[in-house]
Amino acid sequence: MRRKLKLSLDSDVTWKEISPGGVISEAGNAEKFKTGDWRSIRPVWIVEKCTQCMLCFPVCPDSSIPVDAEGKRTEFDFDHCKGCGVCAQVCPFDAIEMTEN
């Protein structure tokens, strides 16, 4: 019988309910933690200039350039983008501009 591991994201979880040993059983749940508000500048994706070369995708430290099923990039994930500006630097087509947040 598999026991349920209660993983409470609440800050008021009691010791009786907390997961033994600090095991986290919800893989990838850091997505629920929004780092977007760290941003002081934000990237703007200029769709007309974008050639979908995808060079911006791998340089993102925050996995914040989503890719659709066809392998094309879509709008930035502003919930997590920290505004580092690395993507704008590598874009050969000036299709990403950094602006005030």
């Binding site: 598999r2 026991r3 591991l5 800050s11 979880v13 009691t14 010791w15 009786k16 907390i18 033994p20 040993g21 600090g22 095991v23 986290i24 059983s25 893989a27």
Partner: protein, 393 residues
Amino acid sequence: MAKRDRLSGNEAVAVAMRQINPDVVAAFPITPSTEVPQYFASFVADGKVDTEFIPVESEHSAMSACIGAQAAGARTITATSANGLALMWEMLYIAASSRLPVTLAAVNRALSGPININNDHSDTMGARDSGWIQLYGENNQEAYDNLIQAVKIGEHPDVMLPVMDCYDGFITSHAVENIELLEDDEVKAFVGEYNPDFYLNDRENPISVGPLDSVSHYFEHKRLQAEAMKNAKKVILEVAAEFEKLTGRKYGLFEEYMMEDAEIAIVVINSTAGTAKEVVKSLRAKGVKAGLIKIRVYRPFPVDEIVKALKKVKALAVLDKCDSFNAAGGPLFTDVTSALYGRADGIKVINYIYGLGGRDVKTDDIEKVYERLADIAKTGSVGEIYNYFGVRE
């Protein structure tokens, strides 16, 4: 069907490991525990077990590999002594706090420095607050029996804590004695399969182990860990009862030897109990109401039970094969006296540090302890509390 054999403590423990057939054994040689992985490696080489044996490059890596393996879903065992245990220190705490029921054969040896390979308890006593369950055994039979029970205790869902099977270096580890072994299939049935609820190698349910735990949750995790140690007491007794059914050998939290009407008593750990029992026997023959308690379960510490067993005693000596260097007394003394405080205040208690670095323990020495206890019981005058025997004055 039990079978009789003649084995050293280390060999008996290695045989228990073969019968348990753990998934992973990671170990590093250190005297006097070296023989355990040595015997076991030959079982692996001869295909007598399914185990992956990891001959690591240090004890730190031994415990780290055990942690990785146990977290990955494997039943894992290791062995060490003294400095090896000290090198594992950091990982002992992490195994316990991660709630990984690793089993460790801890062959007691004096902890450096100066370096000394002989027996005392300074290694495992230092690890008493690491969150491990500690079982101690007087002889090869107990070392064997405790290892088999350790696996079942640690893996119990209400416990999920690592367990040390502690026994005396050389005295128990190397001395060959008669032993009663279980059949392989009996051991296998007794320990069962290790099926943790969550493990790294579960492809369908990935987990993260060992997170950074900040102010918001750390305390709750530690509180839950403390509860597991409380639960362990009950589980240890349940497992002992089941083991008794199988073997007829009875285990508790500690052994009471002629304690029913004892007026003077000592509390002792491991092989010294054998020597001390001889003394008790001869004192009893002379009409002295002497008794002895041999601790089996040191962590969790059986506070209520110890108090109950000692309640009628007038004078008590706690024997520590380990010094605390706190200018006050050894670790066992501290635990026993704090158990008695407020619960059985009338008892006069003294402490003896003895046997450090393998110094011989003689019946004469122990007789003198009982003589002093008899005097304290008679006069009510305690004198020096923190004492030594066996050291040249």
